[in-house]
């Protein structure tokens, strides 16, 4: 009985114990706060890093040897195989190619200036990325009459359904990773676009529509409906030489993914239009796959598909292509290095901050060591009254127990509250002190991301608790070994 009673009495009557409690509180609180923010940053960054990637990306090595001859340049077999997999929600081909804007006039001058300053302001951007996607729905409305009827009937424009069987929201999902449509602004005002404008007899080949990344659109001072000329280079297999192709397109609208490189340099257009632009040398370069449950199935489906597609000769597979791992990747494997770096940062931050807890442990050690010296006479009295060495050891361990319990719980509560309210706390601090602490524009976040994970909070509180007890063990052991007579004579 005396252990809990005396330890609590010592705790409340010695202000030095407050230092121990505050030390643990600060350590636990800071660790929870920082880890929650880092986790929030990691999750937000995962969204940003994922950018326009689908759940799985299949990039068959067309023309390479496969189990059934050579890998086809027609995506239909591959699409059929992918859609037959019950865990796959949708699959659509995509054609990626490089190009540059060759438009003359004001836009050309702007582009030239952009190229000249690219090393400073555009992350070395010199070319644009042309992305050919399958267009369906509104994109397939081929005549002005149909579009007019649609407008009259609905009074508004239906959302563009693009990407073939991946409906609009699914495509947006693949663009933004999450929350489709929230930050994607691609609704073109013209029902004829995207991407196939009406054929107007006598005016030659119609110009196809394109969607331009919002930042590029702004930088080049473009307008919706304006014509833009794009150039690209394709390999002529007959002449075995590169050939420059140029074509004019109509700007149908813009999109914004908040991924700088995408918004700076990507242009979407119809896949068949792009294939035609490339002289039919390529029909597709990759197939995007959306799974029904990515978190649950991604690893298993990837493995199964690698095996199945290799077996059926739809991808090259084999040792040369790492048994299909070079041709079929999850989006996380695609961005593996970057995600690994962010995760490493979080782990490193956790390790560094754990040192705060070790520091708090040392504080407990110092306080208890001081207390054992200060309380030597009490230890002797307790021994004379019949306390055992183990009992005395437990008495001092219990002081650390109270320190750790109070510090840990208060730190846990304050850290969790701080992590949940970090955004409003930061805003209040910024308002109060008159300067911005967190610049939201730097990360393109409109809030400070923070994710409180109950498991982490529990682990940190328990970690602090055991750390404090561990550091208390040495002074407690010293107290138990004190000779009661020497202790009694201590003044």
């Amino acid at each position: 009985m005396y252990r809990s009673f005396l330890s609590w009495r010592y705790l409340v009557s010695r202000p030095t114990n407050l230092i121990g409690i505050v030390g643990i509180l600060v350590g636990v609180g800071a660790l929870i706060l920082i880890l929650s923010i880092m986790t929030g940053f990691l999750e937000e960054s995962r969204r940003t890093v994922r950018g326009t990637l689908a759940d799985l990306i299949v990039c068959p090595r067309q023309g390479e040897r496969s189990a059934k001859g050579v890998v086809s340049d027609d995506p239909q077999g591959l699409l059929h195989a992918l859609r037959a997999e019950p865990r796959v929600a949708a699959a659509a081909p995509q054609l990626l190619w490089g190009g540059i804007i060759t438009q003359r006039g004001e836009m050309g001058k702007n582009y030239e200036r952009l190229l000249a300053s690219s090393s400073m302001s555009h992350s070395g951007l010199l070319a644009i990325q042309l992305v050919g996607i399958d267009v369906n729905g509104i994109g397939r409305l081929t005549g002005p009459l149909t579009a007019l009827v649609a407008r009259r009937l609905h009074g508004f424009l239906p959302r563009p359904a693009i990407q073939d069987e991946l409906d609009a929201s699914a495509f947006l999902h693949s663009l933004t990773g999450d929350q489709p449509g929230e930050i994607w602004t691609a609704a073109p005002p013209n029902p004829l676009l995207p991407f196939l404008p009406p054929r107007r007899p006598g005016l030659g080949r119609p110009k196809a529509g394109v969607l331009i990344g919002e930042q590029l659109f702004t930088d080049l001072v473009m307008r919706v409906g304006q014509v833009v000329e794009i150039g690209t280079a394709v390999l002529d297999p007959e002449r075995d030489d590169w050939r420059m192709n140029n074509r004019e397109f109509v700007i149908a609208g813009t999109f914004r993914t908040r991924e700088n490189e995408t918004d700076n340099g990507r242009i979407y257009l119809d896949r068949r239009e792009l294939a035609d632009f490339l002289g039919q040398t390529r029909g597709y370069t990759q197939v995007l796959v959306r799974l029904k449950d990515y978190e649950r199935d991604s690893a298993a489906v990837s493995e199964d598909l690698r095996a199945t597609l290799s077996e059926r000769g739809l991808i090259a597979g084999g040792a040369a292509f790492a048994e299909g791992r070079m041709e079929l990747k999850t989006w996380e494997e695609f961005r593996g290095n970057l995600l690994g770096a962010i995760e490493n940062e979080r782990v490193l931050m956790g390790i560094m901050l754990s040192l705060v807890l070790v520091g708090a442990g040392f504080t407990i050690f110092a306080i208890l060591s001081m207390m054992v010296t200060e309380k030597r006479r009490d230890i002797g009295i307790l021994a004379a009254l019949g306390a055992t060495p183990t009992g005395i050891q437990q008495l001092f361990l219990m002081i650390a127990f109270w320190d750790a319990l109070l510090g840990g719980l208060l730190g846990g509560v304050l850290g969790t509250w701080g992590a949940i309210e970090i955004d409003s706390i930061e805003r209040w601090l910024s308002r109060t002190f008159g300067f911005q602490i967190f610049d939201r524009n730097v990360y393109l976040f409109d809030h400070i991301p923070s994710v409180v994970q109950p498991l982490w909070v529990t682990t940190i509180v328990l970690g602090a608790f055991f750390c404090a007890l561990l550091f208390a063990a040495i002074p407690a052991w010293r107290a138990a070994r004190l000779d009661p007579l020497v202790a009694l004579r201590y003044e």
């Binding site: 009295i381 021994a383 004379a384 055992t388 009661p484 007579l485």
Partner: protein, 252 residues
């Protein structure tokens, strides 16, 4: 650690057929030395001593004679280098740490010259301390009101009813010593070891404290060793043992 409920009355050994009381505490050839720098200082040179049930024994001698060292050996606080200490027939220093601690808690009450109260506790809590050590939290909780009542009663008998909630720093020397006596007697131990209980008090206060202590000894039939260098105090005891240079000089 849960210990058995303390006996309400002192466990007295039955009188022998020859009319003398049984020995409750005995030292047999106790030797004790301390290392002082490179040399060894022998304090006790083979002490033989017996304390009978209900006996009041004075241990006198000049400073450095070894009185307190002997008392600490007898009180199971300091192990003798040689010889043995028998408590109610048990060779106490051959017991384990826990058993010895149990004996100290249940069988021996200590009164020190410098009171040795815990400064963080009130007078009442100091008195209750041996019971807190003896009982588990649960056992103490179940008897809390009864134990507090008993402790309060003891303080009241020692004239400290109004001072029960005071801390030692708020008490006078005499009051502190009376709290220490109440603490020593709270579990009704059969043996009381008092080391210069009035040594740190002025003569009037010392006399009052001594009267109280001797009255309790008589009332409870305690076996008590009173260490003192004051001949007048010693003369009030049934038996006086004089120590000189670590040896028992005279007994009367």
């Amino acid at each position: 650690m849960t210990m058995e409920r303390p006996a309400q009355a002192p466990a007295l050994a039955a009188p022998r057929p020859d009319g003398t009381s049984a020995v409750v505490l005995a030292a047999r050839g106790v030797k004790k030395s301390f290392a002082v720098g490179a040399r060894t200082l022998e304090i006790l040179h083979g002490i033989d001593l017996e304390l009978r049930s209900g006996e009041l024994l004075a241990l006198v001698g000049s400073s450095g004679a070894g009185k307190s060292t002997l008392l600490h050996c007898l009180g199971l606080l300091d192990p003798p280098d040689q010889g043995s200490v028998h408590l109610e027939g048990t060779s106490a220093w051959q017991l384990g740490l826990v058993e010895r601690a149990h004996l100290r808690n249940q069988k021996i009450g200590f009164v020190f010259e410098f009171y040795h109260l815990l400064p963080e506790l009130t007078a009442l809590e100091n008195v209750l301390l041996p019971a807190m050590i003896a009982h588990s939290r649960l056992a103490f909780g179940s008897r809390k009101s009864e134990l507090r009542e008993r402790a309060g009663g003891l303080l009241e008998r020692f004239g400290l009813a109004e001072r029960a909630s005071h801390r030692p720093s708020q008490l006078s020397g005499g009051e502190r010593q009376r709290v220490a006596m109440a603490r020593a007697l709270f579990l009704d131990p059969p043996i009381l070891l008092a080391d210069e209980p009035t040594g740190n008090l002025d003569s009037a206060t010392g006399a009052a404290v001594l009267e109280l202590l001797l009255a309790e000894q008589r009332r409870r039939r305690l076996s008590m060793i009173l260490v003192t260098h004051d001949e007048k105090i010693a003369r009030r005891c049934e038996r006086v043992i004089t120590m000189k240079d670590g040896r028992i000089g005279a007994s009367g």
